[in-house]
């Protein structure tokens, strides 16, 4: 065997703390190594040419590159050796940058360690087998999870690009958080006026099929060929018949149902259409509050419905959709006020959240756009906004910034002055984070043109005194404690991952961080990809973000799917598990442990039962190989023999 070793300087990244010349000299002496050299930037075009030429010149049949992490350039070099005529799996990468030069300061020790890393790679590469990928067809339909502004953008871009889109929305109507907003910053555009046309487009697009009030039950398959089971939750109303007239809602005797759309600002009816512009404009029964469903007595809606659409027996329904890619735009949640006991923990009616205030401002909200105190319906004159209510608060496990609160508070302060000209707004803030285009100017306008009083300090406590709420804060710029007697307090409660985010991530096999936000493949260079092929992210499911950023990501994810679907066939990764059926004893432990359901049981002609890998589903994670008691199942390119050879070489050195 003739192995060539190429050691990269990576400028000073590696050469700064590794003696690359000595490493090349020493590794040249290793068994099977016939050629060893070092080069400034091996990944550059001349660097790759050097490899190709050496393969020809030295008649190499295996190549080792000692450079950065394989996550960066493994694919680059696999293509390089392939162009020079070798199987692309006759290549190994030794990571001497992240694992060595960046973390150690002693040049001699680093160099020794680099030599050992190369020795391990050489031991592996001489045992590598040629592998070949197979091609399979792509199903060019795309699933979008979540019909907020990010998901709708993805759906529309994909559909406009000619793809069939399946859009699944958890709530009865599409539009997400943006549909609840009154105006948007920094332009004060009416939110529903700019979102409404998009919602209509979604509803009418010939390439989009919408499942509202539905959730993802199960996902099987792999990039190009997913089978998605969707649970269509029962609204207890036959939506094919419902005309959205709203008669049922008017007559429903249960007047204290929690209004999810309005975040409980005012109660709603047990059967309701969430808002006037709702799409689909269909009624849904909230079973928790429905007298007929809970106690078997009522049925008023069924009596008044002229379309005969009410059906208390209607069960959940399931549909299976086949798609080739998935965009996750499942949005975000908000912390409960219970986490903020010093602000009353939700016990005081006149301490509300930013999104609730948004509903009070909104003309289609429960107060028809008149700002009223929830306690007594009076118009507040003194309004306190508390930013970072839970954000940047390690003590409740939310160390991060919620991204958009600074801006919406400025907007709400401006709108408050518009609604109630003789009002005074106070904004308690720690830092004003207004980095978007036109954002900082906007927060200045709130102060200069609308008279909002910005106070730099956190609020420590809020308590009632008579009809007022006493807001106890600090003005750290004055170095003083300050108190405001407020009529209404608005808390910018922290944004969190959407409820159920973790469960959905597990169905999708994507990662999420400690706070439940989905993790992108690379924070800078692959911001909408996940580490699962064919699954993309958009919007606040990945982290709190405002409308422009969510829309941008929605389009970006759509572009990724369009690029993926521009081909008819995909190549499978051959580094997957394979069963040696002669050695398999049929215990089927691997079937149980496989997280992808990629192993099935197979009966051989003689009647013996063995495990069998479904190549297209196997993701090459290797869990099965460590479960198998007799070594019958092996992950190609990472076989026991290959890995043990690496370990041995290290132990023998």
């Amino acid at each position: 065997m003739r192995v060539g070793v190429f050691i990269c300087h990576c400028g000073n990244n590696i050469a700064g703390t590794v003696d690359v010349a000595r490493a090349a000299e020493e590794t040249a002496k290793l068994p099977h190594v016939v050629y060893s050299t070092h080069y400034m930037y091996t990944c550059s075009e001349p660097g790759q040419d050097e490899i190709k030429q050496a393969i020809k010149r030295e008649n190499l049949d295996r190549v080792v590159v000692a450079a950065c992490s394989p996550r960066m350039h493994e694919l680059t070099f696999r293509r390089t050796v392939e162009k020079a005529g070798l199987n692309r799996y006759f290549f190994e990468m030794a990571n001497i940058r992240e694992h060595i030069s960046w973390i150690g300061e002693n040049k001699e020790l680093n160099t020794n360690k680099a030599i050992e890393a190369v020795r391990m790679a050489v031991e592996k590469v001489i045992r590598d087998k040629p592998l070949h990928s197979t091609a399979f067809k792509i199903n060019k339909r795309v699933l979008v999870i979540g019909a907020g502004v990010a998901g709708m953008q993805s759906a529309l871009d994909c559909a406009d690009g000619g793809l069939d889109v399946v859009l699944v929305e958890k709530s009865p109507a599409i539009g997400g958080m943006m549909a609840r907003l009154d105006k948007t910053f920094p332009t004060i555009d009416c939110s529903i006026c700019i979102l409404g046309p998009k919602m209509v487009d979604v509803a009418q697009h010939e390439h989009i099929s919408l499942h509202a009030y539905s959730e993802i039950e199960e996902i099987k398959g792999y990039v190009g060929n997913y089978q998605v089971k969707v649970r269509k939750k029962t609204p207890y109303v036959d939506w094919t018949k419902c005309t959205g007239c709203g008669e049922c809602m008017e007559k429903c005797p249960t007047k204290n149902a929690y209004d999810r759309f309005n975040f409980g600002v005012a109660p709603t009816r047990a059967i309701n259409i969430p808002f006037p512009q709702a799409i689909p404009k269909k009624a849904t029964i909230d079973a928790q509050y429905c007298r007929q469903i809970q106690k078997g007595k009522c049925g008023v809606c069924a009596k008044v419905c002229r379309a005969n659409a009410i059906n208390f027996e209607l069960p959940d329904q399931f549909v299976t959709e086949e798609v080739g890619a998935i965009i996750v735009a499942s949005g975000y949640g908000l912390i409960d006020q219970e986490l903020l006991p010093e602000y009353g923990g939700g016990r005081y009616p006149d301490v509300i959240t930013g999104i609730q205030y948004e509903r009070l401002l909104n003309a289609s909200g429960p107060t028809s756009g008149h700002i009223q105190r929830p306690s007594d319906g009076t118009e507040p004159k003194s309004i306190v906004f508390v930013s970072c209510a839970g954000s940047r608060d390690k003590s409740i496990g939310i160390p991060y910034c919620s991204n958009f609160c600074c801006m919406y508070i400025a907007k709400q302060a401006i709108l408050t002055k518009d609604h109630i000209p003789d009002s005074q707004s106070y904004v308690f803030y720690m830092d004003i984070r207004a980095t978007g285009k036109g954002y900082d100017e906007f927060t200045r306008r709130a102060q200069e043109d609308y008279g909002a009083k910005y106070i730099r300090g956190r609020v420590s406590r809020i308590y009632p005194k008579g009809k007022k709420m006493i807001v106890q804060g600090a003005d750290t710029l004055l170095g003083a404690k300050v108190e405001v007697e407020a009529d209404l307090v608005v808390l910018a409660t922290a944004a969190t991952a959407a409820p159920g985010a973790a469960a959905l991530a597990e169905k999708l096999h994507i990662s999420y961080d400690t706070h439940g936000f989905y993790v992108e493949s690379h924070p800078k260079l692959r911001p909408v990809e996940t580490n699962t092929a064919g699954v993309y992210l958009a919007g606040a499911a990945q982290g709190p973000k405002d409308i422009p950023a969510s829309v941008g990501q929605g389009s970006a994810a759509a572009a990724k799917v369009l690029a993926l679907f521009s081909r008819d066939m995909l190549e499978s990764d051959p580094a997957i598990a394979r069963v040696n059926q002669n050695a398999c004893v049929g215990c089927l432990k691997c079937v149980k442990t496989c997280p992808f359901q990629a192993i099935k049981e197979q009966e051989l002609r003689g009647g013996e039962v063995v495990a069998s890998v479904i190549e297209t589903i196997c993701a090459g994670c290797g869990v099965c190989t460590s479960t198998c008691p007799c070594g019958a199942i092996q992950l190609q390119h990472f076989t026991d023999n290959q890995l043990l050879a690496e370990v041995n070489s290290l132990c023998l050195s």
């Binding site: 006991p341 010093e342 923990g345 016990r347 308590y463 009632p464 005194k465 008579g466």
Partner: protein, 334 residues
């Protein structure tokens, strides 16, 4: 479940100005079926002054008592005084978490503390080990005129990691125990606001202003008495109420009761047995109307003398009731 035995640490205040707290605690715990074992030859916990001077000294002064309790082989130490409790909890936490600190402390002690004592406030014992339901079962007397503001003070439930009891912002244990006795408990928002603590002597003007704020909020919530669990709070609010009135031009006359006294009254004990006669602002007018539980609403309040026999005749003295522990454990399990 209520433990049969608790090591009991009264603390210096309860030997002095807060003797009525000590007396009422002993009376009601006996009635609830718990035995208090005296921490033999206990000494001062060190309190705020020792802590201000040096953490190791403060740790040693507290740990001397913990070491004594450790050798009594009683699982739990209980003290009615939040300040003593806090001193014990701080010393215990530092001794068990910081080896160097533990060594320094034990170098000052004759008898080393190994870290084996769990300290609880007596309020916590009654709230968690006995429980409101068991308390209700002991009630023989209703107190119709009491409108209580429960004032917990600053350190009974804070900081939450150390106190590990009740809610740091809106504690409810006393509220619930009083409610279990049928007392009208008001929604009081200054439950944990500071009264000025130990600064009554050296910084009187500070304490008077803070206390004035607290009493103002008490009045605002419609309460006619304050119920406390801390001897310092009681001192500042009761002893100094006249000083507050003089300094701030107010005219408060608000009785300040220990929660144990209210429970005691509800259990049918006499005011003197609970040390109520010791208080500066008299609660007589508020408790005069108390009457046996279950009596007709219209019935006139029982006269002091007559009531005693009635109580004994109908429900018996709470302390005598059999199966007190059984009731408590049943309530807890339920």
């Amino acid at each position: 479940m209520i433990e049969k035995e608790y090591a009991y640490y009264a603390g210096c205040s309860l030997e002095g100005t807060a003797s009525s707290y000590d007396r009422s605690i002993r009376v009601i715990l006996k009635a609830l079926g718990a035995t208090l074992r005296e921490t033999e030859d206990w000494s001062c916990c060190g309190s705020t002054p020792a802590h201000a001077m040096d953490h190791v000294l403060a740790g040693a002064l507290a740990a001397r008592n913990l070491a004594i309790v450790e050798r009594m082989e009683t699982a739990t130490l209980t003290t009615p005084c939040p300040s003593c409790l806090s001193a014990f909890k701080k010393a215990h936490a530092k001794v068990t978490q910081d080896k160097a600190f533990s060594d320094e402390v034990n170098q000052l002690l004759d008898l080393p503390y190994k870290g084996g004592v769990k300290a609880k406030s007596t309020l916590q014992v009654i709230y968690e080990d006995v429980g409101p339901d068991a308390v209700t079962s002991k009630v023989t007397t209703v107190l119709p005129d009491l409108k209580a503001a429960c004032y917990y003070g600053c350190i009974l439930s804070r900081p939450p990691k150390l106190a590990a009891f009740d809610d740091p912002e809106n504690p409810v244990s006393m509220d619930r125990l009083l409610a279990a006795c049928g007392v009208d408990v008001r929604d009081f928002v200054f439950k944990t606001e500071c009264c000025g603590a130990a600064f009554g002597v050296p910084k009187k003007e500070m304490v008077l202003r803070l206390t004035h704020k607290v009493l103002t909020m008490v009045q605002d919530c419609g309460a006619n008495c304050v119920v406390v669990a801390c001897p310092l709070c009681q001192q500042n609010l009761d002893l100094r109420q006249a000083q507050v009135n003089r300094a701030m031009g107010s005219s408060f006359s608000i009785p300040i009761l220990y929660f144990s006294q209210v429970l005691g009254l509800a259990f049918g004990f006499q005011p003197e047995e609970l040390g109520l006669d010791k208080h500066i602002v008299s609660a007589d007018a508020l408790i005069r109307s108390r009457r046996p539980k279950g009596a007709e609403d219209a019935a006139p309040p029982v006269k002091e003398k007559a009531r005693k026999s009635t109580a004994q005749g109908t429900a018996g003295k709470p302390g005598d009731a059999p199966g007190a522990e059984g009731t408590a454990s049943a309530a807890k399990e339920a």
